[in-house]
């Protein structure tokens, strides 16, 4: 059973629009949710993260919205730029989960100029 699910698989937006990437999870003990950004030819890198005690985390143009009751979260990228074109991975972990991070399958974002 996949622990972390992402949608859509791919997303295309125009420059300046807001891109919304969705994520849901199964395990209610998950309490830490990082998002990783991966450019072609590179390894993923941490973009932004949120803990389950918060419902929102902002970092510049990137915002995570978290709904604990529904076990859902989303990453909003406002004023999208062509340089934001990348694959975005939602991940989840729990303190008592043998140090495991579970990754979703990723959303491939294309921002058209």
């Amino acid at each position: 059973q996949q622990q972390v699910r992402q949608s859509p698989q791919s997303l295309t937006v125009w420059e300046g629009e807001t891109a919304i990437l969705n994520c849901s999870y199964e395990d209610s003990t998950f309490n830490y949710f990082p998002w990783y950004q991966q450019f072609p030819g590179e390894g993923p890198a941490l973009l932004i993260s949120i803990s389950s005690v918060s419902d929102k985390k902002e970092d510049g143009r990137f915002t995570i919205f978290f709904n604990k009751r529904e076990k859902k979260l989303s990453l909003h990228i406002t004023d999208s730029q062509p340089g934001d074109s990348a694959t975005y991975f939602c991940a989840a972990s729990a303190r008592n989960n043998n140090n495991r991070i579970f990754f979703g399958d990723g959303t491939q974002l294309v921002v058209k100029p």
Binding site: Y32, E42, A45, N99
Partner: protein
């Protein structure tokens, strides 16, 4: 900035061949991981380790062995490579094992092709 170095970056072998992928991190991190990345499957954990001599099984371990010789070095071994193991492999490290404040630092990947 955390540094994780993988080698080789590209490898081509034949079915039944032996392959060793190497990973070195220079940040004194306790945890190291091997992932494979395939289209439609995201990142799948093969093996991980929380210290020299330690090995933990991930989600897709079949056909893979791993060995953590030092705190810095983590190796992934394919002793009888098969075409299904053609993939992009990533090594990662973290200081706290990925718990709450733990951040994974990834290498640049090793592309393996098994003919």
């Amino acid at each position: 900035e955390a540094a994780v170095t993988q080698s080789p970056r590209n490898k081509v072998t034949v079915t039944g061949g032996n392959v060793t992928l190497s990973c070195r991190q220079t940040n004194s991190h306790n945890y190291m991981y091997w992932y494979r990345q395939d289209t439609g499957h995201g990142l799948r954990l093969i093996h991980y380790s929380y210290g020299a001599g330690n090995l933990q099984i991930g989600d897709v371990p079949d056909g893979y062995k791993a060995t953590r010789t030092t705190q810095e070095d983590f190796f992934l071994l394919l002793e009888l490579a098969s075409p299904s193991q053609t993939s992009l492999y990533f090594c990662a490290s973290s200081a706290t094992g990925g718990l709450n404040t733990g951040q994974l630092y990834f290498g640049e990947g090793s592309k393996l092709t098994v003919l």
